[in-house]
Point group: C2
């Protein structure tokens, strides 16, 4: 699966006439082996530990490339940090965000998606993307308070 994604990115890069660089390979490896929802800073620090040479800007740039390539998706929560999550074959999911421990839980709901489409239709909108986030306390954090 990781190999497939690497191939996908290489295909994208080739199609766009991008060069194959050591940095992009490294960043892709780290991104693919990381859990969902890494922030740029998080990923940058993780990479830096073993590859001190890699710069901030390159990580930012490269994550944008992954997004363009369809490997990653930008997640903007309410804390001003951009996160990136893995994209698997067009599926979309939404997020429960715990304001206590910052955990992010994914969910999908077909019915909600359908209702969204109806709402858009009603207003003559053509939806390109959407964002649904439920903020609150997860079970563990509720227990602790």
């Amino acid at each position: 699966m990781i190999l497939e994604k690497k191939k996908a990115f290489n295909a994208f890069a080739a199609a766009k006439g991008l060069r194959s660089t050591r940095q992009r390979d490294i960043i892709l490896d780290f991104f693919l082996s990381t859990r969902q929802h890494v922030s740029v800073e998080e990923l940058y620090l993780k990479i830096k530990a073993s590859h001190p040479g890699i710069g901030h800007a390159t990580v930012y740039r490269t994550l944008k490339l992954f997004t363009e390539a369809g490997l990653a998706r930008e997640i903007l929560l309410n804390d001003g940090q951009t996160r990136y999550e893995h994209v698997s074959a067009g599926e979309h999911h939404d997020h429960l965000v715990c304001t206590g421990c910052n955990a992010i839980i994914e969910f999908e709901d077909e019915t909600i998606e359908k209702l969204q489409k109806e709402i858009a239709l009603l207003h003559g909108f053509m939806i390109k993307s959407h964002k649904l986030e439920l903020y609150g306390l997860c079970a563990a954090c509720r227990a602790n308070q």
Copy 2:
């Protein structure tokens, strides 16, 4: 209705031991007479035209106060600008955002709200707030492209 909101803010200010200032009155007037979804900068510029003395920081601070007072709600869309919308008696609504002309259309959907609660329950979450935004092109912008 505007009068009610002014009273509500005065009550809030009194309860919090805040002082009544010319600036807060002016900002409240402008906020109340403005359309939904003003960004801080927008409101600041509008006020500045007739009240050049009022500072950036005061507008930021005061809008946060309105939010605390329950008169306003912060809206964070994907463009990095904080907007404030009017709150009317606890009702909540979500947004269709046109990426063509930046129009923001409000909608409400009981069924979606209900489904959200079910999802939260399923995950043991206690929801404090939520955010649903549908990004796309409005009817007019679709026609123009």
